[in-house]
């Protein structure tokens, strides 16, 4: 987003009075009802999936568009607005880009003061002149100082004339090196006239035209608040979502691009459900700031709490068994594993220390570090475990391919492993962020419910994760069990996310910081 549009957004926000807290009766509704102020991009190019399940509280409506859809939509808008303004498509395109695709504002302004609008968009006086190069007697190019007779030259209506070669060179510099397209200005010093598409058609080398059109489409998406590019590397899709910036403390708009990437429409970071963007930003900043003092961050080895021999964590599962003494313990809290089946509390909840400690200032700062470390440790652990889970899955998958031939199982039949692995990744991603969320939660009844949900999901995840560590030969027999555990994980995740999202929407969460100033 450019600095300009950010400013526009800010001013737009203050004029609308911003986000009103505690106003339950007209609480923000997310999803379908955005057509009033922002027409949906859905213009019949996409069929809405009418058979899809009803929306969960944490889900938002969105659409995914390819470059061609966006191009088509732009062209359609240009035609419509051009017909109203009586301007040719090239000029209309410039006017619309200049108005950042706010066609109502453009049409209104044009009706009142057409000359002003044209001048400001760099079009000068109306009327189309065919774009062509010409030879001018006694011409000296101010850019290259060439003065040969017969030199081809070019100028737009502003009259700033340069040799065609310099003009070409200038345009390719802007497009190729500076990534500019929609608002390239005349090369003349101080001239704000914008290079129109006819000039570009005439002068831009063919191999740059694709790049130019790609950039034009890019600026279209960049200009629209309800459109964003998928941040996955090399992904060509854009996502449309009606959730506004001012709503972001009440909803975490997570979208799924057609390329498979889940991301937050609010901040374009990877899926960070259930934590709102503002807290994510704060948390990441904190982790970055504290990373130096955080030498404690557990590496991949720990000592067995019973015999002190070194144990390396090599899978995502937190259920550790010491090779030497066979002690079974939990990687996170180092407690005895057998107690975890029923009570996981020591693992997901930070026990707030008594107030007496806190009187000592030093103890206080140590305590706040400890509290942070508690949550960070678990946050980082799920991140790390997700990677390890994936590694194990990839190894298993290879083995399964071999197994396929020996056991006679078909490709379809081994897909349960893939499904399980994906569920595991997604649940760990969610769990990871629940710890950042919990760090900022003020303690109350809701927190208890949250921690119970967190605990249930965590247990479901560890149970599933554990299955990946079974010998491959046993996996075929465990298929049904694994599928059950997978769907249980997904179910727990939905419960946790739905509950958190409801409370967020209603403003029921109490945070220990001011989320609105984040």
């Amino acid at each position: 987003m450019s600095a300009d549009s950010e400013d526009e957004f800010m001013s737009g926000m203050s004029s609308e009075g911003g986000f009103e807290d505690g106003n339950e009766s007209d609480s923000v509704s997310f999803g379908e009802e955005f057509e009033d102020d922002e027409p949906a991009l859905d213009f019949g190019l996409h069929d809405k999936d009418i058979t899809s399940a009803p929306k969960k509280p944490y889900e938002v409506d969105f659409d995914v568009f390819g470059p061609r859809d966006i191009q088509k939509y732009q062209d359609k808008q240009i035609d419509e607005v051009g017909a109203i303004l009586g301007q040719p498509p090239e000029s209309t395109a410039i006017l619309l880009r200049h108005a950042r695709w706010n066609k109502e504002r453009l049409i209104e302004g044009y009706m009142d003061h057409p000359e002003d609008v044209l001048e400001k968009a760099g079009l000068g006086l109306a009327g189309a002149v065919p774009a062509k190069t010409m030879v001018v007697d006694g011409f000296v190019c101010d850019i290259c100082c060439e003065d040969e007779p017969g030199l081809e030259t070019y100028a737009m209506k502003c009259g700033h004339r340069y040799c065609a070669e310099c003009y070409r060179h200038y345009l390719s510099q802007k497009i190729r090196e500076e990534g500019e397209a929609a608002r390239i200005q005349c090369p003349g010093d101080g001239c704000s006239r914008i290079v129109d598409s006819k000039t570009l058609e005439l002068l831009v080398e063919d191999d740059l035209k694709d790049r130019y059109h790609e950039l034009l489409t890019r600026t279209y998406v960049d200009d629209k608040d309800n459109l964003k590019w998928c941040p996955a590397p090399n992904c060509i899709y854009a996502v449309e979502c009606g959730v506004k910036k001012r709503d972001l403390n009440r909803i975490v708009p997570t979208v799924r691009c057609d390329c498979g990437h889940y991301f937050c429409f609010g901040c374009t970071l990877n899926d960070h459900l259930p934590t709102p963007c503002a807290l994510v930003k704060m948390w990441l900043k904190k982790c970055e700031d504290d990373s130096e003092t955080a030498n404690w961050i557990s590496a991949n080895t720990k000592e067995c709490p019973r015999c002190n021999s070194t144990i390396e964590k090599n899978g995502g599962c937190n259920h550790m068994t010491c090779r030497k003494c066979k002690n079974e313990f939990c990687w996170i809290c180092m407690g005895v594993w057998s107690e975890h089946g029923t009570s996981w509390y020591n693992c997901n909840r930070y026990e707030e220390k008594s107030g007496s400690d806190a009187r000592d200032a030093q103890a206080k700062s140590r305590q706040s570090l400890e509290r942070y470390l508690h949550y960070y440790n678990r946050y980082a652990n799920h991140e790390q475990s997700a990677k390890l889970d994936k590694d194990i899955y990839l190894k298993t998958e290879k083995k399964m391919t071999n197994l396929q031939s020996s056991s006679g199982m078909s490709w379809i039949e081994v897909q349960f492993l893939d499904t399980a692995s994906q569920a595991l990744q997604q649940c760990r991603q969610t769990l990871k962020w629940t710890y950042a969320f919990a760090y900022y939660l003020a303690r109350n009844n809701l927190t208890e419910i949250f921690e119970d949900n967190q605990k249930d999901l965590e247990m479901a995840v560890e149970n599933l994760s554990e299955m990946f560590e079974k010998p491959t030969s046993e996996l075929a027999a465990l298929k049904v069990d694994m599928m059950d555990k997978t769907s249980y994980c997904n179910k727990r995740r939905i419960i946790l996310l739905s509950d958190t999202a409801e409370n967020l929407k209603n403003g029921s969460w109490k945070f220990n910081i001011d989320i609105n100033t984040a």
Partner: protein, 152 residues
């Protein structure tokens, strides 16, 4: 690579009709590299100072702006410790129709009209806004210390 006609013409003109208060001389072994001297404008805290700069014309000049840096230390809100200059025509407002001489004139004008609202040296800009007379005093002292010939 042969020197483009544009650079030859510009250099010739800089020599034949020098701009008052500005000197720009190309190195003999590298005609894209210039030693520059800019006189501080009168009525400014930089008055009587002679500021040395280096100027380099990159390969794609004039499609991209020249690279310029102050070598003499200077107390100015738009010039940082490394001598880099915050000036629109050296960045987004560069036009290939601009020339070395016009750029140097803009730099001289910048000395006469510091703009603390578009700062490069934040500490200087802040001081400039909070206590302009004191900032101007410091700029004068620096000029005397670093840019007046008998002290260089």
């Amino acid at each position: 690579m042969a020197l483009p006609k544009r650079i030859i013409k510009e250099t010739e003109r800089l020599m034949a009709e020098p701009v008052p208060g500005i000197k720009a001389i190309p190195h003999e072994d590298n005609l894209r590299y210039f030693d520059v001297e800019v006189h501080g404008p009168s009525q400014s805290p930089y008055e009587n100072g002679i500021f040395k700069l280096e100027l380099f014309l990159p390969d794609d000049y004039p499609m991209t702006p020249p690279k310029i840096r102050f070598l003499t230390r200077i107390y100015h809100p738009n010039i940082d410790k490394l001598g880099r200059i915050c000036l629109d025509v050296l960045k987004s407002n560069w036009s290939p129709a601009l020339q070395i001489r016009t750029i140097l004139l803009s730099i001289q004008a910048l000395l006469g009209a510091p703009n603390p609202d578009d700062p490069l040296a934040n500490d200087v800009a802040q001081r400039w806004k909070e206590d302009e007379p004191a900032a101007i005093q410091t700029a004068r002292e620096w000029t005397r210390m670093y840019a007046v010939s008998e002290n260089r």
